[in-house]
Symmetry: C2
Subunit: 302 residues, 2 copies
């Protein structure tokens, strides 16, 4: 990506993030709402500097198919609540035991373990409330139900986020294995990224081939995202990442660099990005933003 397009996408991301943050602020109970401690803990992690990639993907997929922007921002916020809950629980001492995330203390370091567990539970619960509560036209109810089913499946144990997290934890210390690596990452990060596209597609009433194309795009950027994540953990410093660098190797995690080496991993990320571009062929020029987002995911520095 050249400098000009990097700047343009960054401006777009910053502007979109502002709108999503405003919606998240509206959806989360106020910090002084009883009992205040839990609402403070929830807000702390939601507003700890997330990139809002998942709501943005949902928004772009939905807008591409003519969906209403305001509703898509509201519904897409559910994805960020799920993502944030997963980070809070992953950081707990019993799991990855991380003290820093995005350059700030992790939730349990600030609010204690009990509150961090409950804040994660609360964000997970709120995600489904956000999808189910707003009034939508009665002929849209079936789409809401389908979105909830997709979000739950992508977050669950069978090929979803929790299943991936379990396989990742249990893979620590095992010999690097390409098959297991792909299984872990398709589930751990891939399923929710693909769901981000799918939620937007479902809401906007995607035709079957449109849904399949956006799912395919989601799978490729999902793998690209994870390969880059693994590479950043090796190549960047903790200061640049805002979290502890080099943790994967220290914990003997199964990663792309560990299985394929650095050079091949870089090549694979570029290939997945290329495949993501190809997946969008049927949308033509209209998918420009999703093309830019794929490039952005591969070229990000944190």
């Amino acid at each position: 990506m050249n400098t000009v397009s990097t700047e343009i996408i960054q401006e777009y991301l910053d502007a979109t993030r502002v709108g999503i943050d405003k919606e998240l602020d509206r959806l989360l109970p106020a910090a002084d709402h009883f009992p205040p401690s839990i609402h403070q803990a929830m807000r702390y992690s939601v507003f700890a500097g997330g990139k809002r990639l998942r709501p943005i993907l949902c928004l772009e997929a939905g807008c591409l198919l003519g969906g209403d922007e305001q509703t898509l921002v509201r519904l897409g916020s559910a994805l960020e609540l799920i993502h944030t809950y997963s980070l809070i629980h992953d950081d707990l001492p019993a799991l990855d035991n991380d003290d820093y995330r995005r350059g700030k203390l992790t939730n349990h370091k600030v609010f204690g373990e009990a509150m961090a567990i409950l804040a994660g539970d609360a964000l997970l619960t709120l995600a489904f409330q956000v999808l189910a509560e707003p009034p939508v036209a009665s002929d849209r109810k079936a789409r809401i139900v389908a979105m909830i089913a997709e979000l739950a499946a992508a977050s669950g144990t069978v090929g979803g986020m929790i299943g991936g997290q379990v396989a990742d934890l249990e893979g620590e210390g095992k010999p690097p294995d390409a098959q297991l690596l792909e299984t872990i990452h398709r589930a751990k990060t891939g399923a929710l990224l693909r769901a981000s596209l799918r939620l937007g597609a479902i809401y906007a009433g995607a035709a079957e081939e449109q849904y399949a194309a956006l799912s395919c795009y989601g799978e490729h950027i999902g793998l690209a995202f994870q390969i880059v994540d693994d590479l950043l953990d090796v190549e960047e410093s903790s200061a640049e990442l805002g979290k502890t660098a080099g943790k994967d190797a220290a914990q003997h995690k199964i990663t792309f660099p560990a299985v394929y080496g650095l050079e091949a991993s870089h090549r694979m990320a570029a290939e997945e990005c290329e495949r993501a571009h190809h997946s969008l062929a049927l949308f033509g020029e209209r998918a420009a933003r999703l093309h830019e987002l794929a490039d952005h995911i591969v070229h990000r520095k944190s």
Copy 2:
């Protein structure tokens, strides 16, 4: 309650529980499904001897209004998944730190803390999947969305289960306070019990006054349930309870006996039960089962 009616309700409860357990077994991923550890952990706690009170309340409320029994058992199972997740997380060392529950080792004692946290997350997630995934007629989709919204609200932080749990934890060691006590228990146990009735009512297309009556019944049995729970903790032995007795006092929890004394607490439980009976007036004889369930809740021994 006399001995004959106790026996009849027990037979009914046992038979209904068998059907619910069968449905839960069908809904949970198989114990050997990848990654097996999480599915074993989920199943361990779901099949650790729960009374299935919440699905039974959902089923009875729905059947009272002509709802289909099989679908109500399936949808009502979501309530048991939520209830089980909350027990697993409540028992964690960072929260109530309990080693036993229903006479068996708690989830984290068997599977470790990481897996217990993730198994709770997974059951919470699966609950919403159970509501959203099954095919229902398109004119029923709006009801499913309303059920999901109610379940999420009842499980959440604003007057819901997590809010009650936070207030309960933060109330430890505070002077006994009647107002705080009621706030905690309406949220911690009351909201999900009321939601059990409401989910059945929504699914069966309850009229406004039927919905209000069942909600009212749910609130009264919810308080009765919690008062009896507090009393059992004082009056029964650990062997009878299947969990550590006397923990409330040891942890300086705000309980009904602590605020009102034993005698007044017994009287209050009976009064709440009486109010629950009155709430059902408009259903006449048809609500016989819900009347029996109210009595059963007050007279239970564990």
